[in-house]
Structure formats: structure tokens, C-alpha cells
């Protein structure tokens, strides 16, 4: 193999699994170390720069970082990254002085953001400091989008959301709330320099089964119902509630129903339990609150008597997988099952809807009625219109919306300057040695063996009595420290300098996880992997291959399960190995290439 080019910023970035997996590439190990040092405000700001809503995400993020966490490959469970973020948010001091300055002299460019959710707010957060004037239009009475309307307040207190939304609005964003935009043409008429569409995926799907019409107001679309609860229009629910669906919205619906008077609240889902789309922890949280799951039940019919919903009929199915692993749900042939219900909440998915975008404006849509966009710049076929968040490529999550908002802001800034949108600014990177002495490092290189700490919860009775009582109490500072110490510091890179190596094998001998091998090189990576000291089967991680050494061998390090403990560098007599801290941040609008 060719020697690894570690000057490529993406090489070491990929080694930091959590950061690499995060759509916004939040520098996770950096802020976790700051938490361990009780520098909560700085930890918060690292987050704020990348993901804009640390307090919100520290409670509600889909946490793609955690399945990626290296610790999960050597230990039972990954670091509780998401909940550590909350520790930073809970313990931070005032950030007012740390926020970017907003120029009083504007640059004369006006941007409209349609929808006041995380994507639009991120665009505003990035463009306001550059002197742009931003107008946000939203049909609700407060900005925040689905973070406000769909995430129940027992998971995300309104105060936390308001604080982080207001940081952005207070930059001087003009808001047009309770203003439903019904015509893109009318927005374009206002001569904005650019328009950003961050309207989310606002339309909940409805199953058109026999009896739906007769059931009338007893059947609700989950996300609409959640929004009505969030804005106080719905304050109670009937005793028997069936929630259809197996995603996170279904979990939120059933837990909310339980708090509004629902006594027999159940989840009924077509797929097997293991295949349900909800995050494992959200399923656990619902079950912890005593909500039963009926899986493998396909809804067939609403049963209505005398104009009143009595319940639903379900067909039992089983999952059958064909050779390619494709699933089909096959009826078992048993009698249909009847379940009583006063109310049915449908949380079976949601989709984008752009009835308000006229089709003659030069904004092209594809066969699925989704806007045609450039995947990098988020620019539509009408050059001054950009999309981001769920509105761009369909429902994802908050952190993806934020990441796309950042990128759309970069595009809008380039567009307003008449520059090429595809010449994106390079990431900001820094690689610096942590060496403090012969065997001393400026990071805590000892690998703690603690198991993952569990976030304490409020008493169940109390939680169920009031939908505004936050269920999770969050880590206290001490637990936060201990959990932070579980982080392996994957951003502290093992950097190899072949010119200094005397091939003494000390690093090979000490490495606890057998990552390092000195061997003859191979053309084919697959062959080289078979020659390594430790089994090398994780093809998603790279091999770090050195230049040829005096014995004509090369150093090969499998990045897969390196603990970043620094022992290779401690046992190296010639400092051919060094532990160097790598900082990588995605460049934002205005940070020139």
C-alpha cells in the first residue's frame, strides 16, 4: 500500500469516530476533556459553534456519535456523549461575552428563511455575524420548529429551548411568527438576495383504513397532536389510546398520552420489536413508563359503533426475510385481533410538502415532489433559493438539519458574493504534540475501566403527573466527570515519524490492543490486513502505513481499536511515535478557504 498521507485533513478526522459520525462534526473529545476539567462554558461553546443547540441536543439528539464511539468496540457500551453535552449546558456560565459580535453596519444583503426550525436558525446564526439581515417566517407562535412542536417538554423543557433559540433571535433576526407562507412567489417578490427553505417535513401520514371517516375526531396524526399539546390546545386525552407506529414520534405520542390522562396507552406496530425505528433508549424510556408494545400487528380497520370509535382490528403477521435480507411481513393466518380504543394516534411517518411553492418559479421538483438540489451546496435549480433540514432530503433529525444549515449558509454567503458555490472552504485543522516530559502528556492518557453511567430519572409518579416535568435529571458534576473520563481521547493521534524509528518493537510489545505491526508491505490492503498482529476485520477503519524503514519493512497501524493510551509513544526510545492532538472544525460561512 502507499504510505498514508496524514496531511490530508480527513485522515485523522476519520480516526475521531464520534466527530466523524456527527453530521455537524462536533469536536467531541475536545469538549469532553473540557467537561472533565470543569470548564463547562468552554465545552458549551465548542458545541455551540458546531451544533448551535447544545442544551437541546444534549437531551434529544439522535446521537449518531455513540454507535460510532470507539469505546463501544472494546467495552460494553460507548461513552454517554449526548448526556455529557447536557452536563456542559447545565453547568455553563453566561455566554453573552463569548458570542460573535453582530455588526451594526449591515452588508446590505437580505435573506428570507421560511420555517423557524433548527435549519433556518442555523443559517441565521451563521449569517448574522457577517452583517446579513435575516427574516424568519414561521406559522407557529414561537420559533424552534419541530424542536418545539414535536419534542415533548418532559424530554426538552421549554426554558432550555427558548434560551438557545433566543440567542440567535437576539442577534437581530426579524421574525414573522404565526405567518403561514402560502406562496413562494410572494416571498420572491420581496426581492430577497436569497431565500432559504427550512420548513421541515410537516405532513404526518394518515392510514386510510375502513372506518377512518366514521371515527372522525378520535383519530389524530401524531405530530399534529403533539404540536397541539405543545401549544396548549390539547390538554387531555381519553383513557384508552392506541399509538400506531414504531418510531421516535410514536414513543413521544404514547408518553405524552400517558401524562394527559391516558390509562391504557399502548404501542401497536407492524414490524417486530427489534426492527422498530425508534432509538433503543427511547423505546426503553417508554417501557419504563409502563407502556406495552404490541409488535407484528398490522392495522386493518377502525371499529366504530354509533358514531363512536370502539377500537381497531389488527392482523397478526410475522417477519420473513428472503436471501437478500429483504423483509416481508406475512400474515400468520390467525383471527384478527380486536383492541379497544377511544383515541388513535398515528405516528407512521411524515413527509415533505411544498404545495406553497409554485411550480413555475424555476424551482424544479423530482418525481417524489422533492426539490432538485445540489447535494453539496443545497442550492435549488433557482439559484437564489436554497433548502436545508428535513425540507431538503426528507426527514432526518435536528443535528442533520443543523449541519445542512451550516452548509447552506456557506452557500448563501458565497452566492451573495458572486463566488463559486462548489469551492467550499477547507476545514480548520490543528495538530500539536501533547508531550510535556519524557513520559508525560497534556491529556489524561490512562484508560478508565468504569462502565457507562446511567442518567438518573425523576420519580416515575411525579414524571407521569405533569407533562412539563423533565424525566431525565442529567448527570451531576461528579458523575459527569467520571463519564467524561471514559472517553478514549481519539483526537489525540498516534503520529509516526519513520525517520526516527530504530525498529526495536517496543511499541508492538506494549500495545494493549495489538494495533501495531512491522512487516513487509503488500500491494493489496486485504493481504496486508492478514499479516497484522491483531485480527483486522473492521474495514471501515483505515490502516496507517509508513514509508519503508531501513529493514525494508513498513509500520502498519490498524486504527480500529487503538485506545489512544499513548503507551507506544511512552515506550518509544526515539520519539518516533508522538501523541498529537488533532483539532478539526468544519469551516462556516465567512471563514474563507
Amino acid at each position: 500500500m502507499n504510505p498514508t498521507d496524514v496531511s490530508n485533513p480527513e485522515y485523522f478526522h476519520k480516526v475521531v469516530d464520534c466527530q466523524y459520525a456527527c453530521p455537524a462534526h462536533t469536536p467531541v473529545p475536545e469538549y469532553i476533556r473540557l467537561i472533565a476539567q470543569q470548564r463547562y462554558t468552554e465545552a458549551y461553546m465548542i458545541n455551540w459553534e458546531s451544533n448551535v443547540f447544545p442544551g437541546v441536543l444534549g437531551r434529544t439528539c439522535d446521537r449518531p456519535c455513540e454507535p460510532a464511539c470507539r469505546r463501544g468496540r472494546v467495552d460494553e457500551e460507548p461513552v454517554a456523549i449526548c448526556r455529557l453535552k447536557r452536563v456542559a449546558a447545565d453547568n455553563k456560565e453566561s455566554i453573552a461575552d463569548l458570542l460573535p459580535e453582530i455588526p451594526t453596519q449591515k452588508n446590505g444583503k437580505r435573506i428570507a428563511c421560511i420555517g423557524g426550525g433548527p435549519a433556518s436558525l442555523t443559517v441565521a446564526r451563521d449569517l448574522m455575524p457577517l452583517g446579513y439581515s435575516i427574516d424568519i417566517y414561521d406559522n407557529q407562535r414561537a420559533a424552534g420548529g419541530m424542536m418545539r412542536s414535536q419534542i415533548p417538554s418532559f424530554r426538552l423543557p421549554e426554558t432550555v429551548l427558548n434560551e438557545e433559540v433566543n440567542v440567535i433571535l437576539d442577534m437581530g433576526v426579524t421574525t414573522f411568527l404565526e405567518t403561514e407562507v402560502t406562496s413562494m412567489a410572494s416571498i420572491l417578490e420581496k426581492d430577497y438576495d436569497a431565500v432559504f427553505v427550512g420548513t421541515g417535513a410537516p405532513r404526518g401520514k394518515l392510514l386510510n383504513l375502513p372506518g377512518l371517516e366514521e371515527a372522525g375526531s378520535a383519530v389524530h396524526v401524531g405530530i399534529d397532536w403533539l404540536a397541539n399539546v405543545a401549544f396548549g390546545h390539547t390538554e387531555q386525552v381519553a383513557k384508552k389510546v392506541i399509538v400506531l407506529g414504531g418510531g421516535n414520534t410514536a414513543m413521544d405520542c404514547c408518553r405524552t398520552a400517558k401524562r394527559l390522562g391516558g390509562e391504557d396507552v399502548r404501542i401497536v406496530v407492524r414490524s417486530p420489536y427489534a426492527d422498530m425505528k425508534a432509538s433503543p433508549w427511547e423505546k426503553e424510556d417508554a417501557q419504563h413508563e409502563g407502556i406495552p408494545f404490541y409488535d407484528n400487528h398490522t392495522p386493518k380497520e377502525f371499529v366504530v359503533e354509533d358514531g363512536k370509535l370502539k377500537g381497531m382490528l389488527f392482523e397478526k403477521v410475522e417477519a420473513v426475510y428472503d436471501e437478500s435480507g429483504k423483509r416481508s411481513l406475512v400474515p400468520t393466518g390467525e383471527d384478527w385481533v380486536f383492541m379497544e380504543a377511544d383515541t388513535v394516534l398515528m405516528a407512521i411517518g411524515q413527509e415533505n410538502a411544498f404545495p406553497w411553492v409554485e411550480r413555475d418559479l424555476g424551482i424544479d421538483f423530482d418525481q417524489w415532489e422533492m426539490p432538485k438540489l445540489n447535494k453539496v451546496s443545497f442550492q435549488s435549480t433557482r439559484p437564489n433559493v436554497f433548502f436545508g433540514g428535513d425540507a431538503a432530503f426528507g426527514p432526518e433529525n435536528v443535528i442533520t438539519a443543523v449541519a445542512q444549515g451550516h452548509q447552506a449558509a456557506v452557500s448563501i454567503d458565497l452566492f451573495c458574493q458572486g463566488k463559486n458555490l462548489l469551492q467550499r472552504p477547507d476545514p480548520h485543522t490543528n495538530l500539536v504534540s501533547t508531550k510535556m516530559g519524557v513520559h508525560e502528556w497534556s491529556y489524561d492518557n490512562a484508560v478508565e475501566t468504569d462502565d457507562r453511567y446511567i442518567v438518573p430519572l425523576v420519580d416515575l409518579d411525579k414524571a407521569l403527573s405533569d407533562r412539563k416535568v423533565e424525566v431525565e435529571l442529567g448527570f451531576d458534576r461528579d458523575t459527569g466527570f467520571k463519564e467524561a473520563e471514559r472517553c478514549l481521547n481519539c483526537d489525540v493521534q498516534t503520529v509516526f515519524d519513520e525517520a526516527r524509528c530504530i525498529e526495536c518493537d517496543a511499541c508492538v510489545d506494549i500495545c494493549p490492543t495489538d494495533c501495531i505491526t512491522f512487516t513487509t508491505n503488500e500491494e493489496d490492503e486485504a493481504v496486508l490486513r492478514t499479516k497484522l498482529t491483531g485480527p483486522s476485520h473492521n474495514l471501515t477503519t483505515d490502516l496507517y502505513v509508513s514509508q519503508a524503514l531501513p529493514t525494508a519493512r513498513v509500520m502498519v497501524k490498524d486504527e480500529d481499536i487503538c485506545l489512544h493510551c499513548g503507551l507506544c509513544a511512552e515506550r518509544c526510545p526515539t520519539t518516533a511515535w508522538d501523541m498529537q492532538k488533532y483539532f478539526y472544525s468544519v469551516s462556516k460561512a465567512g471563514q474563507a478557504a
Binding site: 513520559h439 526495536c504 518493537d505 491483531g534 529493514t551
Partner: protein, 350 residues
């Protein structure tokens, strides 16, 4: 500085026949200098014992004094250990081996511990064919006392002190051959591919098995003028051939050119396969080994690999016709059979 090795290991570490991974044969974290060759030898011992599927409690590791003799702490943490007196490790092994012949005795020593203060003990252990593996971690200097030239430092070799060594060196394999050792090998800490099979073969050999391992001292003797540096050893190493070790239960499937390859079935049923580089060399002929050693010395090379093996080795227990059962398992009834037996013995002597 780290005082502990992290607990986590490669999740897919291979298990041996006993179900143990390599980690089960590790010891404490090394406190030797970074880059010390001894640590690599420790690594090779761990690998060899793991692959041989030896139960850790079936091994006793014994050592004398010196950097080398500290190293047993850093491997086989679940085996028996005895850190003895300077140069007196062979006596302690002799006693232990006499008391319990069921253990595998692994002596670890250095050039000071063996070639200086312990030279007499070394010679007699070899002469008596004591059933043990004797590994010398040979760095040509007294590392623990600031790197003075040792008795194995080559004449003219220059350590960190800067003075050429005025004395000739003791060649430990040559001494062992002279004194009747039945397994003699030399290797290099930086060449595990050679060292690991040699350790395995030595452990399967019944009798005194010496492996003299050149093990550079990075702190005092890895200099440009040293003949025991990493660089010098790599440049001047020549091998008698390669050694493959085939455990007892594994079928030998590959065929080699019979002219160059010799299979030797060891005492425990395993097979050592020797592939020779030079046809004139015969590892089963003591004379041939001595000649090869002398030739390489004269040409300034370091001859490594298996130098000599006696296929018909009779170890100390056989020579003394000791009890097949370990002495420490004999009970009072057997040790004091009573006056009747005494009477018979006395009768036989009249």
C-alpha cells in the same frame, strides 16, 4: 508515565487450546527503559507460551540479578516466579527441578548474571544437562549500573562511555557447546519470527536449552561503535537456517526439499523443522556447530538460529535415575518405608 497497561484488549484475540488469550500470559507493565530489547524477548516468551498452550501454573520462571532478571515480572504473571541471588539462578533451578520435575523451568538471565558472576553456575547447569530453558538477554553491558562493558562485550566495541573494550568476549553458546549443552541457539530480540519458534523448540527439548539473545541496551549500548546495537546486529546477523515448530497434535502437511529440511520429533511429540541455509552445517553435530561459530566470529558475523541440538539428550533426572514422581509429591510412607526396608537395604550391603 503510565503505571498500568489498560485493561482492554483486542476483542478478537485468538484463544489457544486451553481457551486462554495472549493477555492471560502477560505480566505487569515494564519498568525497563523504553526500547529495551528485553521487552521484546518478554513479548516473544508470551507469544511462544500462549501458542504452546501451556497452563501458566505449569511454568516456573527464575532469574538472578540485573535488568534481564527483572523482566520475569513483565511476562507470565500467573506463573511461579523466583528472583534469586546474583548469578545463582541455576542452583535454585536445580533444587526446584529436583523437587518437582513436572514444571517447565524457564531461567532468565543476563550477560553479567551469566558470564561474569554466574559463569561457574552456568557451566555446571549446562554440564549436568539440567532440564530447563536458559534465556540470556545479552546486551554486552551492565545496564543496571550505568552501562559498564560486560564479559560478553566484543573486543573493540564502544558503548556510550566512548572507550573501546580492551578484552575479548565470552561467547556463551560456544561455552555451552564445549560443556555439553544439548540445545544451543542464538537469536536477536528484534527478530521475533526467529525467536518465537526457537523458544518453543527449547521448551519442548528435554535437557539444558540455551538461547543467547542479543538484546540491545538502548540507554548505554545502542551506539554507533557498539557491536550489540540494533543497527549493527541487523547488519551482521546471519542465520544457520530457519526453525519451524509444529505442535504435537498438528498434522504436517507441507513438504520440503529433503536435502535442505530436517524434521526432528521432540520428546513431547511435537516436531521441529529445520531449514538449513548452508549444506555444510549440521545442527546435530557438535563439531559442526563449533566450527560454524568460530568461522562466523572470525568473519565478524553474528551467527543466529539453532546451532546445535542433541536428539538423544538425557537430562539430569535420567542421569540420576530419580523418582518418576516429583519428590514433593512423595509422602512420608514412601520416604520412610520403615525398619523392614532398612533391614533389607542393610542386608544387601553386607
Amino acid at each position: 508515565m503510565s503505571y498500568q497497561i489498560p485493561k482492554f484488549r483486542h476483542p478478537e484475540l485468538p484463544k489457544n487450546e486451553l481457551g486462554y488469550t495472549k493477555a492471560d500470559y502477560e505480566g505487569a507493565i515494564s519498568t525497563l527503559c523504553a526500547g529495551c530489547g528485553h521487552d521484546s524477548i518478554s513479548g516473544a516468551i508470551i507469544k511462544a507460551v500462549h501458542e504452546l498452550s501451556i497452563e501458566p501454573h505449569k511454568i516456573a520462571k527464575l532469574s538472578g540479578i540485573g535488568c534481564s532478571s527483572k523482566s520475569p515480572t513483565y511476562f507470565l504473571g500467573k506463573s511461579h516466579g523466583f528472583n534469586s541471588v546474583h548469578g545463582r539462578m541455576p542452583s535454585v533451578v536445580t533444587g526446584a527441578a529436583m523437587a518437582n520435575r513436572d514444571l517447565l523451568y524457564l531461567g532468565v538471565s543476563g550477560d553479567g548474571d551469566t558470564a561474569s558472576i554466574g559463569l561457574g553456575q552456568y557451566g555446571h547447569a549446562a554440564r549436568r544437562n539440567l532440564n530447563m530453558v536458559y534465556i540470556v538477554m545479552n546486551n554486552g553491558c551492565y545496564g543496571l549500573t550505568k552501562g559498564q562493558d560486560s564479559a560478553t562485550a566484543d573486543e573493540g566495541s564502544i558503548s556510550k562511555k566512548g572507550e573501546p573494550n580492551p578484552f575479548g568476549s565470552i561467547d556463551l553458546p560456544a561455552v555451552a557447546l564445549q560443556l555439553g549443552a544439548t540445545f544451543v541457539a542464538r537469536s536477536f530480540s528484534g527478530d521475533k519470527e526467529q525467536l518465537v519458534p526457537l523458544i518453543k523448540a527449547a521448551m519442548s527439548h528435554r535437557g539444558f536449552a540455551l538461547i543467547d539473545v542479543v538484546s540491545p541496551c538502548v540507554t548505554f549500548n545502542n551506539t554507533a561503535g557498539s557491536t550489540k546495537s540494533y543497527e549493527y546486529t541487523r547488519e551482521h546477523m546471519e542465520a544457520t537456517g530457519t526453525v519451524d515448530f509444529v505442535p504435537m497434535h498438528e498434522e504436517i502437511t507441507t513438504k520440503y526439499d529433503p536435502g535442505k529440511t530436517r524434521d526432528v520429533t521432540m520428546h513431547d511429540g511435537s516436531v521441529v523443522r529445520l531449514k538449513k541455509v548452508d549444506d555444510s552445517f549440521d545442527p546435530f553435530d557438535r563439531m559442526s556447530a563449533m566450527v560454524a561459530l568460530e568461522k562466523s566470529r572470525q568473519s565478524g558475523q553474528i551467527l543466529t538460529g539453532l546451532l546445535y541440538m542433541d536428539k538423544h539428550s538425557r537430562d539430569l533426572h535420567e542421569a540420576l535415575a530419580t523418582s518418576k514422581r516429583p519428590l514433593n509429591e512423595l509422602t512420608e510412607t514412601e520416604l520412610c518405608p520403615g525398619s523392614k526396608v532398612l533391614e533389607q537395604i542393610n542386608q544387601s550391603l553386607r
